[in-house]
């Protein structure tokens, strides 16, 4: 069993010694359009297609049909792996109610209840949760949110699954939606959008990764017909 799980993006793997360390929690943040979901889909898809891992992608806001389209538009085949149970893409938006009295959004406790059944049942080794920002809407206070996130992170560690958590960063704000998600994660990758000469340029920076020698360089990230390309040998200046 490999110690590292490929992210599905060659250039990023090169920066982090081949991939995420097995069993770790990895956080990806970035503003809208920076490529967070696509990076999550690369990690998810390459699990089954490259390393033979069972992978689960939990979407809390994006309908499954849209994600299927994204996968196919970048040439990532889904159907045969889905029918074998190697790729499991779930739309947890189905569990949201229109009436707020009943609780429109899932919280970490509910997500944990769901994962307790489904991770083991499906022998899941890779998990993507897109996104933490959606779950945060469940909580009225930051304190509750932080405590629940901490408990959830412990659960993920005990479940021995390699997780990619996706969170937003606001255009004018900090690196993450609430400012503390990065403290429960073993690694933290930030995707950026920078304006240069009237054009937005995508970037990627590995800010933290336990058990890994990595640079902290801001690398260029491009989205091509085959998906994300990270220029591991280049830096944004």
């Amino acid at each position: 069993m490999a110690d590292r799980l490929s992210t599905g993006v060659e250039g990023l793997d090169k920066v982090i010694q081949g991939g995420f360390p097995r069993g770790t929690i990895n956080l990806v943040s970035g503003p809208a359009g920076s490529g967070k979901t696509l990076l999550g889909l690369h990690f998810f898809h390459s699990g089954a297609t490259v390393q033979g891992d069972n992978s689960m992608y939990l979407s809390l806001e994006e309908p499954k049909g849209n994600l299927d389209k994204v996968l196919s538009s970048f040439g990532m085949e889904m159907a045969p792996f889905e029918s074998m149970g190697k790729l499991i893409l779930l739309d947890l938006g189905e569990l949201r109610f229109a009436d707020k009295e009943a609780g429109s959004m899932l919280g970490f406790g509910e997500l944990q209840d769901f994962l307790r059944s489904s991770l083991k049942k499906n022998d899941v080794e890779r998990l993507v949760i897109d996104s933490l920002s959606a779950i945060g809407l469940h909580y009225r206070s930051m304190r509750d949110l932080r405590e629940e996130l901490f408990v959830f992170a412990r659960f993920l560690h005990e479940a021995n699954v390699t997780t990619l958590l996706i969170t937003e960063s606001l255009e004018e704000g900090g690196l993450t939606r609430w400012g503390f998600e990065q403290f429960v994660a073993d690694s933290f990758i930030h995707l950026g959008m920078e304006e240069t000469k009237g054009e937005l340029r995508r970037t990627i920076t590995v800010r933290k990764m336990r058990f890994t020698k990595h640079d902290t360089v801001k690398h260029p990230l491009r989205i091509t017909q085959k998906g994300i390309v990270v220029e591991a040998d280049e830096r944004v200046v």
Binding site: D91, E94, L95, F97, L106, E110, S117, K121, H138
Partner: protein, 215 residues
């Protein structure tokens, strides 16, 4: 007697010739259609049709007899008294149809949710639970509910539905956990109640499913 059978028997008995035919059979014993037609002065085809209707309703008996040149059915009374009993607890047919339509729509909505949620693993669990591999689970449930439809009161249909849902719920919980299952069931039930606001079974469905608001 079921509602539909009662209506059919009453309609048959109230036709022009059926009571005279019964009188004729009481007087003369087992007869073939042409004997009855001759006695009552009606056409043989009319006698045949009415005798057959009385037989189909279970009001008279029939046996194969032998006349000079060919075999023919003979008809006779079951006894000297005809009693029609109606069980008023049996729901009218259109009401049963509404109940079945409600439950089927609920199941359809639930399966749509489950498919979006990653149906394939649940489907395998449900098939294991029901031991049904020869048809899709949807078809299986529809067949069972339709089989219950003809003989059931509304409460019988509810019981059939609840029995199914207990098994389905077990399969869902083992894959999705308690909370996600409750949310899916409740979401599907609420959508169905919205689509069928006048269906009486909608009042009980959440209690029958054993789900409650979560979140």
């Amino acid at each position: 007697m079921k509602r539909a059978e009662f209506i059919e028997a009453a309609r048959t008995l109230s036709s022009d010739h059926c009571l005279p035919i019964l009188d004729c059979l009481r007087k003369r014993g087992w007869l073939i259609a042409s004997d009855v037609a001759g006695d009552l002065g009606i056409h043989v085809s009319t006698a045949t049709k009415d005798l057959n209707s009385l037989y189909e309703c279970g009001l008279i008996e029939r046996r194969k007899g032998q006349r000079k040149t060919r075999p023919a059915y003979e008809y006779g009374l079951k006894g000297d008294r005809i009693v029609l009993e109606l069980d008023l607890d049996t729901a009218p047919a259109d009401e049963r149809d509404k109940v079945v339509a409600f439950y089927l729509e609920f199941l359809e909505r639930l399966f749509v949710k489950a498919k979006r949620m990653g149906w394939q693993s649940v489907e395998r669990a449900v098939v294991r639970e029901f031991g049904s591999v020869d048809a899709t689970f949807n078809d299986f449930v529809i067949r069972e509910l339709n089989a219950a439809r003809d003989s059931a009161s509304e409460s019988d249909l509810r019981a059939v539905f609840v029995r199914f849902m207990e098994k389905i719920k077990r399969a869902f919980i083992s894959n999705f956990g308690q909370v996600a299952t409750a949310r899916m069931f409740e979401g599907a039930a609420k959508e169905t109640m919205f689509a069928h606001p006048t269906a009486a079974c909608g009042r009980h469905v959440l209690a029958d499913l054993g789900v409650q608001s979560v979140g």
